[in-house]
Symmetry: C2
Amino acid sequence: MGKNEFECDCDVIHEDRVKLAKKNMIEEETLLLMADLYKALSDSTRIKIVAILGEQEMCVCDIAVLLNMTKSAVSHQLKNLREMELVKCRKEGKVVFYSLADEHVKQIFNISYSHVMEEKIEGKN
Amino acid sequence: MGKNEFECDCDVIHEDRVKLAKKNMIEEETLLLMADLYKALSDSTRIKIVAILGEQEMCVCDIAVLLNMTKSAVSHQLKNLREMELVKCRKEGKVVFYSLADEHVKQIFNISYSHVMEEKIEGKN
DNA sequence: TTGACAATTGAACGGTTGTTCAACTATAAT
DNA sequence: ATTATAGTTGAACAACCGTTCAATTGTCAA
């Protein structure tokens, strides 16, 4: 099995598997979107915000108090979440109320929540 | 509504909401585990590896060829995934075959895949 | 119109992280 | 034993990212 056509420091060890994988591969654009979705939820501050907004709509100031952070830090992260379309906001006078963008977000949150809780229980055995 | 007991640059605007949220808050340890889970999947290389291993078990070299990366870079990321218990490995001679740790991982992957695909379709309307 | 305050923004700082590179281990074949 | 190759590892570098800080916007009340 000689050198392959790819620019890489490898020989192809299992050419059949590589070909099959190449054929079945999900398109890159989709995988990058998935990575971005995960990235949005991968920060402790942002996941806490999503957890909070899963219960009720809330303003920047209240979130800052709850998380014991500055309004600025919270606002920056809310901007991230907004750009990823995970939260939406509604202005009422001076106050901006944030909530989850849709049920989908809560669904994704709940699934990973269940997963982690199961792992925690399994870990005790 | 005066200054509150928290160290923060905020007044509590909606004290009732903050109290309720505080009461219902998921424990921090759980949220941090969730963030870690998301972090493990938030990198484009790692999500591609998970996608590949969702189809078939595969060795480091094959993955490197598929992703057009060095073995070293792939190995580093596989180590990350192993430490997060998202993949497992099996040695056969010189070759190390990697696969997803369990069905759970594939389930989580599939859910976010569906989510992203729906978003893509909605985006076209 | 002035003051107070919720919220946003951009720059800067420091910590994190992904890839590269070189060195290394382990296994198989000659 | 020697060589070749699969894989791992640690250090180093650059890019990325979260928080802080200071300045600014927008809205309400006096």
